[in-house]
Symmetry: C2
Subunit: 673 residues, 2 copies
């Protein structure tokens, strides 16, 4: 069934009285639906505390303090350099003037694509998350943006600088919806408003959103015959409407999200459109990840949020099918997704080229966001494995170490003579930079969740959690570790008083030799890729020590990944490595190197290189083949082979020096074992 | 300039009096324009004898007799098995009944796609070429087809079983032209008619064509405001109209071809259409090979034919640009073209995947046909190199050794567990089988051409040429060789009387160590990839002996071909090799093998294997990596490496036994030199 009738939709399980009752009876650590002025400070990145089908519930960003180490320096650069320079660039490129023009305070012309407002909103969202770690940050900037919003919003609630003024007649036409990102812009405005509310309790941006949704969108658009149809076009609105529902408790926002996830057959779309847009037809009809990768990831986010609220089994079945497709056949080893430059799209299964990989930063972030939602729906650690893979590699590569330039594409091989610069300070479609910024700013919120029986530990870093269990017992967890460079993690668990609960500690899927002790006594049942459940009477000062093991691993890809045949990727802990020609003797290109599959690496931490990285080195080979120049195919005239010290750096740190050839997947020259 | 105005087109150089005069003054060994009833037996596969801008002129198929060896057995299978079984399948699948239905002699419904007539025509073309080698073949079948044509053709000349009767209203609408292949069908009818005429002098099919073109097409369609526009849709009509011009000498056919090559802006096409269709916009605006590969190749054929007649420099410049794109970045080492399954299309430059290669048989044939025309325009041996590469490999692979099954796709790597059968007796779009059949049937016509100063030898095989030089001197050339298995070729040159002329002997581009003697005396100036000009007073019985050298060669691809990095292809003479798992110890998959780049192969001819092939064997390596099952990425748990005898067979002979994994590009394990 490709298209539910609108009537069928209205009668679907999502909106039965029983479902709504289930929602209202869900665990509610604080606050109640409708009572939404009081508990903003307790709301997590997504707030599933009252979601009846959530197995886990996040903790607020502010509950976790990141101490010295890997992420602290990245997050400092984010707030000290990236967010300020991106704000300046948004100003410089007229993104704020688009608002001022409509307010009469600027004579500049409209500039930038029709989704330019969203980049301002994503910046505001990032700045808001950052305020949870430092409330003094960006207050004036956010106030100024709120001033712009209030100044531009029309009396019926509509707000979109591209479709106001002279382009008003195009507003919410079928065409504008499909290509115009009107709901996408609103979705990012909603996410900014939600983040601002959760940071400060300030409802002014939320009020703008509610005026838009209640004043303009819901009265005019929907499945009813008296209303006009809408299509998501670029999914984003779905998950943000559901967050608005979580804050307000108003079912109409969830209902609207569900309607959008179903599509509306009154808007005719070609089958190509439906693939590309990943919207416009029932989400539950999807069989695989396809089309525009960011659209698909954001649609999956919205659909998972919808499942978390409604428990609709068709949604969970579809999401499970799509997730299997992701990890079985469509995800890069970096956690990036989207194989094709054309349409920024998923490819066929196992179509994972390296040199031409698209791997948009936003798509990797979307992958993390989706898996965060799936983790809360299932409590399955495999989702946390994907989050960690994407976070440390295919997302982290997106921002330069300086914090001033960004990758739009994150390929797994690179030839600077064939491509332009991969890191740039600005893109006219500047979706990725603020997306990276909001991810780093909200990162503390991804470390822990609570469940009915205790606490889940997802990520590792020097850090302190101060929060409370769902039983109400306050708890502090102090992590001490040099993760991801070292595998030992010490967790000091301090409930306010002795309490029986389960500490679910994630054992990463790659940690095949992981060992765990509690107060010095080794525990059994340590399974990579699962949460280790430590159920006991926890007393203040109990210590969990993990040793995850950090032996470098050689990975091979499924043989159907054509470009990776005969090649290996090197991973140590969560970090995927690559070879850059700049690090090799004679600046040899990675394609001239062969690593030995059964040779140990020397592992050296170099605190002065690339912000402090652990470098892997190995006795491999260098192969040079002399052929006729400039031929597509040329006979080898002579071939020389020699020993070579192969030097690998973390993938995320590539392209931070002079332009160089890079490859993640390397040829092997196995030596006899 | 994307679109010449129609007025500009009418004034272009092609139709100035000067150009027509040049045409009429061109070398005309026999016959004159308009005098087209007499010289059919002297006409080559394409008849460039009166083409003013042709440097070479082909010889008729009947002038060359293929003796024992490589192609004789393939050609015997073609006429004894392939053509009869394909005729039976065309009957079985209702392709002839489509005609009988319209004649009232069958009650069957129309069946097959809108281009089904073309498959009947291509079969008739193949059978006609075969008649030049054996006039007794297929006479009744061809008479029966002519009977169908005459029975179905309408009074205004229109003939297309799909668009007659109930679909008549759709005829020659813009949509039907673009997707309906109406001109494509006519083009193949023309090619069949031309082949039949050149085989037998029988003009009945040609008369049908002329009625269609003169009675229906030209009166109704063209650039004039009073006529309706046309678009090629699937190029094919262009080259066939020019052959009709060559036979009849009537400029209106050349003019119509030129109009179609320009496109007509009155038919609105999207930019995607113009890429995919490789028509509908000025051919001279093309910058690269793109879109549907067969369309692109056939368009290039027509454009080269157009250049051969008009000398339009813009055409030659465009063709040169496109050819450079072909050999620099878009051709497989097998001579196949078309990287993408989607739209059966060319990819980006250097996008040459192996496992997912499309490489349609028809596209490789189109490549050969285009290069045959380019060779006649330029006398540049590089075009003959491409012809030989495609012919022996990416075309030859298209037909099974049994002659009863065909490849539509010709990938360079294969996994039978992931794909269906690669060779099939029938495709509902059965374009490739009769295309392969016409290529084998016409093959003798590709061995020689004449030029003003003598004779060109393009291909090598046991064979006898009986023809005449352009000076009028009769000449016989007898080749004795075991080519392509051995590199020694002896040519006995027997002019009827001693004559001064140049024998231009092709030295293949791969023959880096070629040596040539004339009457036992070694000659200098032997350059691979060039014609060796032997200008002398040739006397009956003079002997040219070549030794082309048959040392196996390791080829590497341009580093920008991502899937081939770190891999080699093995070629010996014109034959590209592959590894099939069935030939390896333990049926090891090719991806588990490594060949040694600097090890000699043992070269053994096995007359009982796969119709008689030369097998290459080498001491290489076998690598087995044990990992977790069923993971997209898995750490290597253990790796074992051992010596392995790597056994390679010619690529064209693959998939003639039980299903097996196959690869052309193999990993290397270089040993120190």
């Amino acid at each position: 069934m490709k298209q539910l009738s609108r009537r069928g939709f209205m009668q679907s399980a999502a909106f039965t009285a029983a479902a709504l009752a289930a929602r209202r009876s869900g665990a509610a650590p604080s606050g109640q639906p409708g009572d939404w002025s009081s508990d903003w400070a307790a709301q997590a990145v997504i707030d599933t505390r009252r979601s009846p089908f959530a197995k886990l519930h996040g903790v607020p960003v502010r509950a976790v303090t990141i101490h010295d180490g890997f992420w602290k320096s990245r997050r400092e650069v984010n707030v000290e350099t990236s967010l300020p320079t991106m704000h300046a660039l948004l100003e410089e490129h007229g993104r704020m003037d688009n608002f001022r023009r409509l307010m009469g305070t600027s004579s500049a012309k409209q500039i930038g694509p029709y989704y330019s407002d969203s980049d301002v909103y994503k910046w505001a969202e990032a700045a808001s998350w950052a305020q949870q770690s430092n409330p003094e940050l960006f207050r004036a900037n956010i106030d100024a943006i709120i001033h712009l919003l209030q100044g531009v919003q029309e009396s019926d609630g509509y707000l979109n600088t591209y479709f106001q003024d002279d382009r008003k007649p195009q507003r919410m036409t079928d065409h504008a919806q499909i290509v115009g990102h009107e709901l996408y812009n609103l979705g990012h405005l909603l996410q900014a408003a939600v983040a601002q509310y959760r940071a400060t309790g300030d409802k002014r941006m939320l009020d703008c959103c509610i005026e838009f949704v209640d004043g303009f969108l819901i009265p005019g658009f929907g499945p009813e015959a008296s209303k006009r149809p809408i299509v998501s076009g670029h999914p984003e609105i779905e998950m943000s409407l559901i967050e608005l529902y979580r804050i307000t408790g108003e079912p109409r926002y969830l209902k609207l999200a569900g309607y959008i996830l179903e599509g509306d057959s009154r808007i005719p779309l070609t089958s190509d459109d439906i693939v590309y847009l990943y919207s416009g037809a029932p989400f539950t009809g999807r069989k695989r990840l396809e089309g525009h990768a960011v659209r698909a990831m954001y649609a999956c986010c919205g659909a998972t949020d919808y499942y978390l609220e409604t428990g609709d089994a068709k949604y969970l079945a579809t999401l499970t099918t799509l997730w299997d497709d992701l990890v079985r056949a469509q995800m890069y080893v970096t956690g990036g997704v989207g194989a094709r430059r054309k349409h920024e799209a998923f490819g066929d299964d196992y179509e994972l080229p390296n040199l031409t990989a698209y791997g948009e930063s936003c798509a990797a972030i979307g992958n993390m966001m989706w898996n965060w939602r799936m983790l809360h729906a299932t409590a399955d650690a495999r989702h946390a494995d994907v989050i960690e893979r994407a976070l440390y590699n295919g997302i982290n590569s997106g921002m330069s170490l300086s914090g001033t330039t960004y990758c739009y594409r994150n390929p797994l091989a690179y030839d600077p003579t064939a491509s332009g610069p991969i890191r740039n300070p600005w893109y006219d479609t500047t979706c990725c930079p603020p997306n990276l910024e909001r991810t780093l700013a909200s990162l503390p919120g991804y470390f822990y969740s609570t469940g009915p029986d205790g606490l889940y530990v997802h990520l590792f870093h020097n850090s302190t959690l101060v929060w409370k269990l769902e039983s109400g017992v306050p708890i502090k967890v102090e992590q001490a570790t040099d993760y991801p460079w070292e595998g030992r993690v010490r967790m000091l668990v301090t409930p306010k008083e002795a309490a029986q609960f389960a500490l679910h500690v994630r054992v990463p899927g790659w940690a095949k030799s992981a060992r765990v002790t509690v107060n010095g006594t080794e525990v059994s049942g340590v399974n990579p890729g699962k949460y280790l459940e430590l159920s006991r009477l926890w007393k203040p000062g109990d210590a969990v020590e993990m040793d995850l093991g950090m032996q470098p691993q050689m990975l091979v890809a499924d043989r159907r990944v054509a470009e990776d045949q005969g090649k290996v990727a090197v991973q140590r802990g969560p970090i995927v490595y690559c070879a850059e020609s700049i690090d090799q003797a004679g600046k040899s290109a990675p394609r001239e190197l062969r690593v030995s599959a059964d040779t140990n690496f020397s592992v050296q931490h170099d605190k002065d290189l690339l912000g402090g990285i652990t470098v892997l080195e190995q006795a491999g080979q260098h192969i040079s083949e002399q052929t006729a120049p400039d031929a597509l195919y040329a006979a080898i005239n002579s071939s020389s082979i020699g020993a070579a010290n192969v030097r690998l750096i973390p993938y995320y740190a590539w392209a931070n020096r002079e332009p160089a050839e890079m490859a993640v997947w390397l040829d092997t020259a196995p030596t006899k074992s």
